[in-house]
Symmetry: C2
Subunit: 200 residues, 2 copies
């Protein structure tokens, strides 16, 4: 399998929360992380029907546009009692102004008094090179939804998600505590195991 050996990596995301988290998770690796927004990249339409397909779309588009390897994330919340929704529509439930207060309220409304509050966060990552090679992995974390939202850390649906075996929501945890548990950390660990050279 191809090994990642480049000095620069584009994070193919316009979501500052994701870019920050990925940069933090990649801190042990000798790589300069560039955000898609600072490179002036357009956001491709996320027309895939799975997290993995959307991550691949974004990674390949960014790698081709920049000539650099690009890492894209597509992730979201899959609620068991809602048949996996909002799923790949997790960001769209927040509307054009990315109002996740509204998105969390919608999840809570649609759950109503259903006793099954289980959910999981899923994170698909694709690392694509400009020549078309790519590696994709998927990470997950299981948990339970709470209401009202708690904490101001993280982003997205973090304030209503309590990971299995814990009491605090992702929104209440420090970044280090979340990184030890999260779907994104799980996916990145798989990606690093698959194709990153040893940490410096």
């Amino acid at each position: 399998m191809r090994v990642f050996r480049e000095a620069k990596l584009v994070i193919a995301s316009h979501n500052p929360g994701k870019v920050r988290e990925i940069a933090e998770l990649l801190a042990p690796y000798a790589v300069t992380v560039l955000g898609a927004a600072e490179l002036g990249l357009a956001e491709p339409q996320e027309t895939g029907t799975t997290f993995a397909a959307n991550a691949a779309l974004k990674a390949h588009a960014a790698a081709q546009a920049t000539g650099l390897p690009a890492l894209a994330d597509d992730s979201g919340l899959a609620v068991t009692a809602l048949g996996g929704q909002p799923g790949i529509l997790s960001a769209r439930w927040a509307g054009p102004d990315r109002d996740f207060g509204r998105a969390m309220a919608r999840v809570n409304d649609e759950l109503g008094d259903d006793p099954d509050r289980s959910a999981r966060f899923v994170c698909a990552l694709t690392l694509a090179w400009p020549d078309g090679d790519a590696v994709s992995v998927e990470g997950k974390v299981a948990g339970t939804l709470v209401w009202p939202p708690r904490g101001s850390g993280g982003f997205g649906y973090d304030p209503i998600f309590v990971p299995q075996g814990h009491d605090m929501t992702f929104g209440e945890m420090t970044p280090a505590a979340k990184h030890a548990l999260s779907h994104r950390a799980d996916a990145l660990a798989k990606l690093v195991a698959a194709c990153f050279a040893d940490a410096a």
Copy 2:
């Protein structure tokens, strides 16, 4: 890197020429190949802007729909003097009735008397597992375009493509001769090296 160890593999293509070629190329591996058409799979829209993105879209959709690992191919002809066209539109230039006689004539018309007849075939392959993991590779073969078309082997633009260092078009070659040279064989060799267990 994840190793492919499953007994069945879905070929996420409705193109019988591609399914046949991939089945032939995979003959040394102990794997039962199933075509997307025989499984009744819908063809997803190819909305990606690169071969690699389209291969990923198709592979992830088929893996999710079937619960089996799925291999998708997106490939085409990139003509130097046409700025890489038809590229990801290679199949669309053949129209809804997949008339590659028309598509080849269009390439020849657009080239006109341009002395640069160089082109390459590109093949992106994605192998996706139902859990979202995937590996993508890209294969290429350089060559020269001729007119009129010659030979009835292969499919697509094969009758006007003479691979570098050879005299016959892909359409004139035996399947074995084409498989020793082709972009699809190049891509599949990379994929096998990346993630197939040793041939039985």
